[in-house]
């Protein structure tokens, strides 16, 4: 075992961190959110120039051949500054879907376009009634000549409003909850029958509710009826990436809180000189490190060939990181007192991002239940 980043990984962290330090202060971020898209197209171009948009793709598809560890490091850096650009839906979720299930032609058409910044994807899977159940898909797809026609609606699709291409799950056979019969489709977001209603989410990111009525798919992604295993891969990549993002957010909150405890004076002394505050800070630090360990578990598990073991570790990571993020963000607000409650101060924004991540693809209670089912 070796938990130290390699020299190449160190260079990657340095260049990403430098770029974010120059361009992603809390004040700069505010201006990005205020843009019509809700994020910065200029930053998106910089991501492309740095090679981040093609980071996990093979070199033959215009990528940089990075792996899960590189993604972890980048997502951690993004978590530290609360990046709002559609990196997660496009590169992590969309990229994983194409790499896992795309034909060579699809990979050629899509991955280089993502890497150069000209194509954005969104993963349109969740439905209102489904809560966290990945098999609860009632959107339908019916064969029509050579193609497929989709009907149904998807909810809280991350950056679904700005995506060019949607990856949509739909039933091609079977009933709600059936494992077989779910198929993934590539759908042009501007095609007839696709209606998108975009909105801002609690973490100042963007999402959309998408209705599909008689909408024609561009292509099938993967094998008809066998979409669930791809969906699980996409979700697991998403869990690992957002776990790392949570670690970055926890680091930032802990640093902010530590700094605040040195400067905020009450009863004649900085509050950081009081043991009750010191012990809360050390609890926050310990929780951050335990959460980091679990984010690492998620990253290592992505490469585990045993699907049951992978799902088990992902569930563990989801519980551990979710609980850690919740504890650290609640404590960070508490230690800041009144200022932590304000919109103008950063800590509450980290709080809300952790809250959103915690319930993405299932919250700790959901995964704890799954782990409880395995106890024997």
């Amino acid at each position: 075992m070796d938990f130290e980043p390699s020299d190449d990984q160190r260079l990657l962290i340095e260049s990403v961190s430098r770029m974010l330090a120059d361009n992603y202060s809390f004040a700069q971020r505010k201006t990005y959110i205020a843009a019509p898209e809700g994020w910065s197209t200029a930053i998106w171009s910089q991501f492309a120039e740095l090679g981040l948009l093609g980071l996990p793709f093979p070199e033959q598809y215009g990528g940089y051949g990075g792996g899960a560890q590189e993604v972890m490091l980048v997502m951690q850096a993004f978590g530290r500054v609360l990046v709002v650009e559609p990196y997660f839906p496009t590169v992590i979720l969309g990229g994983t879907a194409i790499m896992a299930a795309g034909t060579d032609a699809q990979k050629q058409a899509i991955l280089p376009a993502i890497a150069e910044g000209s194509l954005k994807l969104a993963f349109a899977h969740g439905e209102r009634q489904a809560r966290y159940d990945l098999t609860d898909v009632v959107t339908t797809a019916k064969k029509d000549g050579d193609g497929w026609i989709l009907d149904g609606s998807k909810t809280v699709v991350a950056h679904g409003d700005s995506a060019d291409t949607l990856i949509v799950s739909a039933r091609t056979s079977g009933d709600r909850y059936d494992h077989d019969g779910i198929t993934l489709f590539l759908v042009d977001a501007k095609t007839q029958g696709v209606a998108r209603r975009g909105y801002v989410t609690r973490d100042e990111s963007r999402a959309a509710d998408i209705s599909l009525s008689n909408a024609r798919a561009t292509a099938v992604l993967g094998t008809v009826g066998q979409g669930l295993s791809i969906i699980e891969k996409i979700v697991q990549a998403g869990i690992a990436a957002t776990a790392a993002e949570t670690v970055g957010a926890m680091e930032a909150m802990n640093e902010m809180t530590l700094e605040y405890s040195k400067t905020r004076v009450q009863f004649g002394n900085p509050i950081g000189t009081y043991q009750v505050v010191q012990h809360r800070l050390s609890d926050m630090f310990m929780t951050q490190e335990q959460g980091r360990s679990m984010a690492m578990l998620a990253t290592m598990s992505l490469e585990n060939p045993d699907p049951a073991a992978r799902a088990h570790d992902m569930a563990m990571a989801k519980v551990g990181v979710g609980q850690a993020g919740r504890y650290v963000s609640q404590s960070a607000v508490q230690m800041h007192g009144g200022i932590g409650m304000t919109e103008e101060y950063a800590v509450g924004h980290y709080f809300r991002r952790c809250m959103v991540i915690e319930r993405l693809f299932g919250d700790p209670a959901y995964y704890l239940q799954r782990l409880a089912d395995e106890v024997a």
């Binding site: 075992m1 938990f3 390699s6 609890d283 335990q290 360990s293 679990m294 519980v319 089912d373 024997a376």
Partner: protein
């Protein structure tokens, strides 16, 4: 980064597991499985078996008769020992006085004491805490006054684990009451427990066991040659001892073993007309503990692999995380076992009960699990209370 165990490490784990399975006496394993603490003779017998194999001094370099393992191998070894229901090697000998002697002692001291510590020919105990010096260790008062070739020691130590088993005690004494800083007047002495003037009085702990003691020193003459390092430099030795290799302190293998035992027992006891193992609340509680143990396991790997990389050296401040989180888990997992025992946690499995009843494994295991629950309330107190660990973290990591 390589976030997996190497093939060599996995092979090593198998080798250790096989050795334990083939060499641990069955009666020792069975007592541990039932939740009992090991007896003196269990620990001695097992450590000598390990010593024949060259493994007793598992954390020592080859030149002192250790196996020269990497920190990762040491961690695997400890985990397998605990999960395999084998006695841990005596920490006082192997992870405390051993490294101290290697680092500070004279050649004569090393030559005499180290092989004996390895083979448990000497059982060591630690004379640090005093009635007035607990978390504030540097306020200790036990005095040593030079008289010819001896120090004359007077005072009292307390919470001295296994002093009643011990042949030798390493003791912190005050040799200069006038020192500018309290830490600068302390020395580190090796004391033969058979020396006249030493009285050991048992302290029975809340689990009913005799593990702790008071040790009184009444004009005890200790030869000057039993001073370790220099006079008035004992605090450096104590700091070295307390900071040395703390990765074992999480005792994660023990927590895992307790959870496994609880699951096994939950199949055998009923709750609301069904086996407890089917109870949703119980299952969630186990799942939460498994999540917390997993996080600690990886944190422990991180600390150990940092040691590996640095080739030893200064302890990682993360080791305080291991202490706090590890002992919280020891307490939570022993608490789980007691809650599984339910009403069977009430009887004390004493000789009279054994005489009256047919052998009853379930009752015996339930009763014994209460013992470890009660005794391990000490886990967050010994080795620097968890509150002190947070003070250390505050200073060392947060810089406050």
């Amino acid at each position: 980064m390589d976030l997996r165990f190497s093939k060599e490490d996995e092979a090593f784990r198998l080798e250790v597991r096989t050795f334990i399975n083939e060499n641990l006496p069955a009666d020792i394993r069975e007592r541990s499985r039932l939740g009992y603490a090991f007896r003196k003779e269990d620990t001695v017998a097992w450590q000598r078996i390990l010593n024949k194999q060259g493994w007793a001094a598992y954390s020592w370099p080859v030149e002192y008769g250790g196996p020269g393992w990497t920190p990762t191998q040491r961690m695997i070894f400890q985990e397998e020992i605990m999960m395999g229901n084998a006695p841990e090697v005596l920490g006082f000998n192997i992870t405390m006085i051993g490294p101290v002697l290697m680092h500070f002692a004279t050649q004569e001291q090393k030559d005499y004491f180290l092989p004996r510590a390895r083979n448990l020919d000497d059982w060591w105990c630690q004379g640090f805490s005093e009635p007035g010096a607990g978390s504030d260790l540097a306020s200790l008062k036990t005095a040593a006054v030079r008289d010819g070739d001896d120090y004359v020691v007077n005072g009292q130590k307390i919470w001295t684990s296994t002093a009643h088993n011990a042949d030798w005690c390493f003791v912190l004494v005050r040799t200069n009451p006038e020192a500018r800083k309290r830490q600068e007047g302390i020395s580190f002495l090796l004391v033969d427990m058979k020396t006249p003037g030493i009285t050991v009085r048992p302290i029975i702990s809340i689990d009913g066991s005799h593990h702790l003691n008071e040790v009184f020193f009444d004009d005890v003459r200790v030869p000057v040659e039993n001073l370790v390092h220099q006079e008035n430099k004992g605090w450096d030795v104590a700091k070295f001892l307390l900071g040395n290799e703390r990765t074992g302190i999480a005792r994660l293998g023990k927590s895992k073993e307790r959870v496994n035992a609880s699951i096994e027992m939950a199949h055998k006891v009923n709750a609301n007309g069904r086996p407890l193992i089917d109870d949703a609340v119980f299952r969630q509680r186990v799942a939460q503990l498994q999540v917390d143990m997993k996080a600690l396991e990886i944190t422990q790997y991180r600390v150990v692999s940092a040691y590996d990389k640095a080739g030893g050296g200064r302890p990682d401040p993360l080791s305080s995380v291991l202490k706090v989180k590890g002992t919280e888990l020891l307490q939570a997992t022993t608490e789980l076992a007691v809650d599984v025992a339910g009403p069977m946690a009430t009887p004390i499995w004493a000789r009279e009960l054994a005489a009256l009843n047919e052998p009853d494994d379930l009752l015996e295991a339930s009763s014994a699990s209460v013992g470890s629950y009660l005794f391990l309330r000490a886990a967050s107190i010994y080795g620097g209370t968890n509150e002190i660990q947070k003070n250390i973290l505050t200073k060392a990591v947060l810089g406050l």
